[in-house]
Assembly symmetry: D2
Homo-oligomer: 253 residues x 4
């Protein structure tokens, strides 16, 4: 049976500050990327989030980010590969401990924000991150933008890589995402979003904004949690996929 | 053969800032307490320090502290037990990942500074810390002030506890350390310091500043790294103990 | 004409994290205490908040807190008076610059959370904070718990002090607030809250929870912004006071 | 009489961590750039440093940096102009308060590290920083790399700008510094360094590494404090310049 993973970023609250609709999203995803305290998250939030994910049978992954809380890890920084390695190891470990304490297993790692974007195109950075994941635990699955340098680096390192696609974003003819600020960047209709995902899964293709067919591999679908309709969108896409015979479950699961 | 552990705090540099004489100290201790990024230390320093300790065959432990870099974790904070639990789990995990990446095993946990002091007298805090250690890995050895609430909490939890004594500090008749600012708080002569340690190991006693004999258990001896003579002092005490037939090795080793 | 000040804590968002209902509250208060980046707030939030307050003619004050973002400055810390002095100077300056850049004048200083509470009872800490305010600008008005050590320290220093009372909290017979977790700590009815404030202003008295009359000075009334009904509560109290002939305006204004 | 300013970065310690040879350097410079707590420095260090500079009659300036303590503000970050404006305002204010509390006047602003470098070539960022300085106090002097976008932005804004040159660095034919890692980047002989500075002051020229004459304006000379010989180098250059009839004093002084 054909399957795909649904993942979402959770655990992005910090101290008194609440962010996201984790409880709702966890009902629809199969993998949860938990913030690790650098771009978001704090020890108490991590514990609560890991517990909530495990209770729902959602696979837990680390979501390491840049050390930039005020910028939510979205501002590129001029990191050396060594610095990227070190902050990835640190954050994976911090989250691992909560998963261990809660009786679960850490399953995957997905870099956050600017770290994810930089690693998608900078092979040396990608390699450092892949190596960090491998050195902490070679069984961890690396989530990376489909077709990116990070996916390539992970595969070279011998890691299992989950190629990530986006349900609610359109693609350009070179396989990259249409920038958020461009017209037509977002897909707001869950039925259209589901169709895009289904084609990616079944045919390994996506139709770009200018109409060309682009090859793409879809192991895991990223769902955004920062809109009020996030959970509803997730639920509808999941239902559409299940109606089409695609089961939603974690990669390697 | 009688043995005792020597431990020292290392990895307390941060970014561009260098602190301590780790290289020298690692030559004389059997256990290294590595700062985990809250009161001191950063991911790069953690990696380098773990590597240096493992290369010298020194047992590596986590040294979690309060989230207070500017105060070096030395200022008491009004933490709930839950907060203490969470920040201990987080920091153990962060360090564990570097030890794992470097091919070693994490061996122990010793709280730092104000966290150590608060846990010595506050049983609820002590229990939370002991539980955090246990939940991450019940094989970890908890380093705690000899006879303290933390030692007691660790034992109740089922952890192996290394009771810690100080070579360069005098004791009061209730078994607590003479406060640093009091006259006679420090023992600066390594021969006298060695004798105090030897009695603790062999007879389970220490003579307090007012002359009474106080029962004490000495599994591990803390050596301070923040004085220029730290390494020399460590070397001399180690030599004295070895001459007296006491071997220096990690607890549980 | 009799007047009183209404103050509220604002500018407590941080980066992507939004907190409080500043826009609504600014419509009803005469003084705004703006977080300065230690317990909450960041440079962008400070600029926006200062601008919003000045646009509404609300007097702007600095709201310095402990360096504890994850604990929102609510956890007591063992600060020396020197440390309290330094962090108060720093935060007043940071906020002053935004007020200056926006063309306004900084009017007051009110310590936040645990710093406020510690300074209410610890005279040395209170003195250090009062001195910090004085040294930066002796024209600044110090907001302090009515009758507290901080109020006393400010007056000794020669500062104008605004004695602060709470509309929505009950008092004990020694003049302190009934702890939040006790029954009867909160006054949820704005009419009752207004009557308590009116008596404080006109008679200099408050009736404690056990029925005794306690002398109290009320220069400024603290309104909390962290409940959904905060703005409504503020509006109702303000209306009640104005109906009773009390005008709401900043101290010294 | 011809004069030039000597400036150095000071106040870069943090908490328990000591960095630099401030005491020695302050004896030879006329302007001190004091770190403001983002890339280095903390409230206590700022107070001590401001006091030490004022006691020696050294002009005090703010040295705002990126919010990156672990990277010492040396890693470029993808800041918006608005973010650069806000963090500059914040840091100037924080330092201003210490200068005010110590009875002095804040004289200048010099961005640090990556912020300085980015502002040298990115006009929008430069403009935001210049505007921040102007908005806080239009009398402040902006220190900027000689001939840079930041110098240009400051002048357009109506600020006094001190064009900064380096005594111990060589220049390329386009007027930029030879990158540190290139051969011949550093001038280690204080006599040669003094000659380079003298020509810059008297003739407005510097000979580049490939022998061409490059026009340059030298209002202030940056002296580095991070080498063991820093103070000696500063003293020797100062003596050479004074022997040549150039007095060392702050710009606008």
């Amino acid at each position: 049976m054909v399957s795909v993973d649904f993942n979402a970023d959770v655990g992005e609250s910090f101290g008194i500050y609440s962010l996201g609709r984790d409880e709702e999203l966890l009902a629809y995803v199969s993998s949860a990327n938990v913030a690790c305290g650098f771009h978001a998250g704090d020890p108490a939030t991590m514990r609560r989030t890991v517990r909530a994910a495990l209770e729902r049978g959602v696979a837990v992954g680390a979501h390491p980010g840049l050390p930039d809380l005020v910028g939510f890890g979205r501002r590129s920084m001029d990191l050396t590969p060594g610095e990227a390695y070190d902050l990835t190891v640190y954050q994976i470990g911090a989250l691992w401990a909560f998963v261990k304490a809660e009786g679960g297993n850490l399953r995957h790692v997905k870099p956050h924000g600017a770290l994810y974007n930089m690693a998608a195109t900078d092979f040396r950075l990608a390699e450092a991150i892949a190596r960090a994941v491998y050195d902490v635990d070679p069984r961890l699955i690396l989530f990376a933008l489909s077709g990116s340098e990070l996916a390539r680096a992970g595969e070279r390192m011998g890691l299992r890589v989950a190629h990530e696609v986006f349900a609610d974003r359109t693609y350009q003819s070179d396989g990259t995402l249409t920038p958020r600020r461009s017209a037509g960047a977002l897909i707001e209709d869950p039925v259209l979003a589901s169709r895009q995902v289904l084609r990616m899964i079944r045919e390994g293709k996506v139709r770009s904004v200018d109409g060309t067919e682009v090859p793409i591999r879809a192991d895991t679908v990223c769902l955004h949690g920062d809109s009020p309709r996030a959970a509803e969108f997730a639920r509808e896409i999941r239902r559409e996929l299940e109606l089409a015979g695609v089961s939603v479950r974690p990669p390697g699961g």
